[in-house]
């Protein structure tokens, strides 16, 4: 999918690639999935981009997992119970589950893995900061104690960062060069020159060996990916935000579903003229949201607010009024050049804003550069897609906590901070909804995001692909262990450029 800030984004990589897939040497047909970027990290606690999360979800397993319809199911955990006060969760692990190296997965591995999420270097620590204690009672029992009852915590554990790694390997500095997990696919090789990662089906996977013998994740641009897909060299374009009218769908299958994602123009309050609230509000009102959505993503869902449709808080809508003249200061909006119609986007935004008196320039830049500026908070504004690791407004709201390292907006609002903290500790569903709505109203009034739309994923997969089921949280959570290749289809052609 698409890019964004830390912990919820996707990289779109540039370039036309030389495609000499490693699967060419294998007799079993390989499933080729195009990705917009190679994973930036294979360490679950450092996964910020969707590509890393997607690869990690194939190699690793967590205690829990999401079904395609967001039902929380046991993965490595056989069962779990929550104490009456909601603070203690006890997990029983399944028997006879193994890592790819043959070691048995134990609660000690789970303890060590989840404790890593609380380390200072963890970029996902904010999701786990409710944890007070993690303790392996015995080899098959894990106890997690929370500082306060946090209802979405099970969703956090079903997310793509709560993965269980072998404790014995965690001290190995080279471990993440060839990671070992307990997921449906085991790592084979990360061929950086070829820009591809090869995974093989894990025969001892707890849910049964995957139908796909080998999976190759290949970095490519959207344009090249479409070309390769037409040539029958790629099975899966699930990483790209295609629209239902794309001609590629005439040559394959289109599987469409909503996803818990939101496309925004992020606004940095630390950069003038966005340090002024009325300017941000006027900018937000004047931005050609409807035109942008109608022209580039017509099948997407109109955004009322920041939270994707179908999640608590999505109904929050604040009608702002233009209360300031357009700023004469130059405003640069960073947009990833990897987007297939980036140039058209630039034109539309610039022309539209200029017509309303704004001095806006769209800077098309590589994903790496965009992400660098995002981290340094050097962009005035930027186009990002926020993907959610768990289906709760909490996930997106946390980005606006004053002390969050992921607070791209630089916003500091004590009331907002209080509401976010209060909502996290509230077990009552309705009361939590009240806190969410209040927080989101504050957020909308603060005008730190221009909410463009909530995408509807249009997954393209080859006609040879069977049992591909979208996940309404994100493409990261698509269960590839169930996907198979039709025996009637020939292996993809291998083309060397």
């Amino acid at each position: 999918m698409f890019f964004g800030g830390r912990s919820f984004s996707i990289v779109i990589a540039l370039g036309f690639l030389i495609l000499t897939p490693s699967f060419a040497q294998n007799t079993a047909p390989a499933y080729v999935k195009a990705i917009y970027s190679l994973p930036l990290s294979l360490d679950p606690i450092k996964m910020n981009d969707t590509s890393s999360l997607a690869v990690g979800n194939l190699i690793y397993d967590g205690l829990l997992k999401f079904s395609p319809s967001l039902k929380i199911e046991g993965a490595l955990a056989k069962s779990w119970v929550t104490s009456k006060d909601g603070k203690t969760l006890t997990f029983k692990l399944k028997r006879n589950i193994f890592f790819h190296n043959g070691e048995v997965v134990t609660a000690y591995d789970a303890e060590a893995s989840l404790k890593r999420a609380l380390l200072p270097e963890s970029t996902v620590r904010k999701f786990y900061d409710s944890i007070k204690l993690i303790r392996a009672v015995d080899a098959s029992t894990l106890e997690v104690e929370l500082n306060y009852p946090f209802p979405p915590f099970l969703s956090v554990l079903a997310g793509a960062t709560a993965k269980i790694l072998p404790k014995s390997k965690l001290t190995d500095p080279q471990y993440f060069d060839a990671p070992i997990g307990s997921g449906a696919f085991k790592f084979v090789v990360f061929d950086k020159p070829k820009k591809e990662i090869t995974l093989d089906a894990f025969a001892q996977y707890y849910a049964g060996k995957a139908n796909i013998e080998r999976m190759v994740l290949k970095e490519t641009s959207e344009e090249e990916a479409l070309k390769l897909a037409r040539n029958g060299q790629i099975h899966d374009l699930a990483s790209w935000p295609l629209t239902e009218t794309d001609s590629i769908f005439s040559e394959g299958q289109r599987l469409s579903s909503p996803v818990a994602s939101t496309w925004i123009i992020g606004i940095n309050t630390l950069k003038a003229p966005f340090n002024k609230l009325n300017v941000r509000q006027s900018f937000k009102v004047n931005f050609p949201v409807a035109d942008f959505r109608g022209k580039f993503y017509p099948d997407s869902i109109k955004a009322n607010g920041y939270i994707p449709n179908g999640l608590t808080g999505s109904q929050v809508k604040v009608d702002l009024v233009v209360n300031a003249l357009p700023s004469k200061d130059k405003i640069v909006i960073a947009v990833p050049i990897e987007l297939a119609r980036a140039t058209e986007m630039k034109t539309l935004i610039e022309v539209s804003m200029k017509a309303q008196g704004w001095n806006v320039e769209v800077a098309l830049m590589k994903w790496d550069s965009l992400m660098e500026g995002y981290s340094k908070k050097s962009h005035q504004a930027f186009l990002v897609a926020m993907n959610m690791d768990y289906p709760d407004a909490d996930f997106l709201l946390k980005n606006f906590e004053s002390d969050s390292s992921d607070n791209f907006s630089g916003l500091k609002n004590k009331k907002l901070d209080e509401l976010i903290k209060k909502s996290r500790a509230t077990r009552d569903r309705k009361l939590r909804e009240v806190h969410y709505k209040e927080a989101l109203k504050l957020l909308e009034v603060s005008a730190v995001t221009v909410n463009l739309f909530h995408p509807r994923a249009n997954y393209w997969v080859s006609k040879c692909v069977e049992n591909f089921k979208p996940n309404i949280l994100s493409d990261v959570y698509i269960d590839y262990s169930q996907v198979s290749l039709s025996s009637k289809c020939a292996p993809p052609r291998v083309v060397a450029r």
């Binding site: 319809s69 967001l70 449709n309 179908g310 608590t312």
Partner: protein, 447 residues
């Protein structure tokens, strides 16, 4: 036409109705059960959704799709139906394919609407409102629902048939039990016929008891009427005997008068007068003999005809004659063992004994007695191998006017026998026997 027992008749008569009603009732009950099951099954889904409506409405209000999806999946796993929550015409949540989410809801085409259920080609759709603009549709696969319903239909049908068969079996037993008084009535009537009513006991069914009493009183009335008839007949026979006597005496008396006239007629010569005088004496003796025979016959007790086995009567007669110690053989020849003829056993036995005694007296070595049934008549023949009788004088002997060469008894015996036979409405016929002697045949009417 072959007759059957009343039980079989009743059973056979009830069979078509029993099977038709059993099948009809089984089909109706099975159909009713099947429909109720189907309606209940689908209604249960709807009621479950209805009961969850407040919760779902709250979740919709909160736009908490993940939680709604969990709820719908949970219900779906239990009910095996697909649940779709529609908000403002768009699919907000579904237990089915997530690709339908946020798409316009397309309701399956309805082919038949029944009890708020829409039957489509492959599914049954029901719906219930959750809140304003929000409804939940429950789509159940048609085939499993129909198969389940059909299974219920078959199970109830089989159970109904088994119950019907059991009922039919019990009904047969009940019919058998109910018809026992009929068997008792039959036995009672048989007992009445055979005059064996020692084991008689009251019949519990009032109507049957009345029938038995009617039969009993009818029998008594019939016996009385029979006695009356026999008495009347005896009187008539006596009258006829007098008439015959008068008729039989007419000629001898006329001859006597003629002879007396000749004997007293001066114009006649002496020889004629002597012959006439001797004839007067002879005629007078003859008339006297005839009157004596007639007197004896008329003195016989009035007969009472009973329909009895005539063969037994002949057997008794033969045994009586044989008991007298004759050296001549009496050969019996009967067609059958039973031949019912209305007769007075005492008188008829006396007639047969007369014929047997005459036969033995006249026979050289054997007398043969036989009974032959010919159409509606029974013939008792007594033949001997003697010299036989002058056929011209047979009628004289039958009238009692003849004189035996050996004893008077014979003439009186034949006259008496003739009288008894006539009293029975029969005839006594003389023929030459194939044995060479006389052959007397008593011919009586058979019932």
């Amino acid at each position: 036409m072959k007759s059957v027992s009343l039980f079989r008749h009743v059973n056979t008569s009830l069979n078509p109705y029993r099977w038709f009603i059993s099948l009809l009732v089984a089909v109706l009950i099975s159909g009713l059960f099947a429909i109720i099951t189907l309606v209940n099954r689908l209604d249960a889904d709807r009621k479950m959704a209805e009961s969850l409506s407040p919760y779902l409405a709250t979740l919709v209000e909160s736009s908490d799709r993940p939680e709604i999806l969990r709820v719908l999946h949970s219900i779906s796993e239990t009910t095996q139906s697909e649940l779709i929550l529609v908000q403002d015409g768009l699919v907000f949540a579904t237990s089915g394919d997530v690709t339908e989410l946020d798409r316009p809801f397309v309701k399956p085409k309805t082919k038949l609407r029944f009890f708020e259920m829409d039957f489509g080609k492959d599914e049954i759709t029901t719906s219930t409102s959750v809140s304003d603009g929000v409804a939940i549709y429950i789509i159940s696969p048609l085939l499993p629902s129909i198969l389940g319903t059909f299974g219920i239909f078959i199970a109830v049908f089989v159970a109904s048939i088994l119950i019907s068969l059991f009922s039919a079996r019990q009904m047969r037993r009940a019919i058998k039990t109910a018809l026992r008084p009929m068997d008792q009535l039959h036995a009672e009537i048989e007992g009445l016929v055979s005059n064996d009513d020692q084991d008689s006991s009251p019949i519990q069914i009032r109507e049957l008891e009345e029938i038995r009493n009617t039969v009993r009183s009818t029998k008594v009335a019939f016996e009385n009427a029979n006695d009356q008839l026999a008495e009347n007949k005896a009187k008539k026979l006596s009258s006829d005997a007098y008439k015959r006597l008068i008729h039989d005496l007419h000629n001898p008396v006329a001859a006597l008068r003629q002879m007396a006239t000749l004997a007293n007629d001066e114009a006649q010569d002496n020889e004629t007068k002597i012959e006439a005088t001797s004839a007067v004496t002879r005629l007078a003796d003859q008339i006297l003999s005839q009157v004596k025979a007639a007197k004896r016959n008329l003195e016989e007790e009035p007969i009472a005809l009973r329909e009895l086995n005539i063969i037994e009567c002949v057997h008794d007669s033969v045994r009586q004659v044989q008991s007298l110690g004759t050296k001549k053989a009496i050969v019996s020849s009967f067609d059958s063992e039973a031949l019912n003829v209305p007769h007075d056993p005492t008188l008829l036995k006396r007639a047969i004994v007369n014929l047997l005694e005459n036969g033995i007296e006249a026979a050289k070595s054997q007398v043969r007695v036989s009974i032959v049934k010919n159409n509606n008549q029974a013939s008792i023949r007594v033949c001997d191998d003697g010299v036989g009788m002058d056929e011209n004088k047979v009628s004289v002997y039958l009238q009692g006017r003849g004189q035996s060469g050996k004893a008077n008894r014979q003439a009186f015996g034949l006259s008496s026998t003739n009288h008894i036979v006539r009293s029975h409405g029969g005839k006594l016929i003389y023929k030459r026997s194939d044995l060479g002697g006389a052959s007397f045949e008593i011919r009586l009417g058979v019932v």
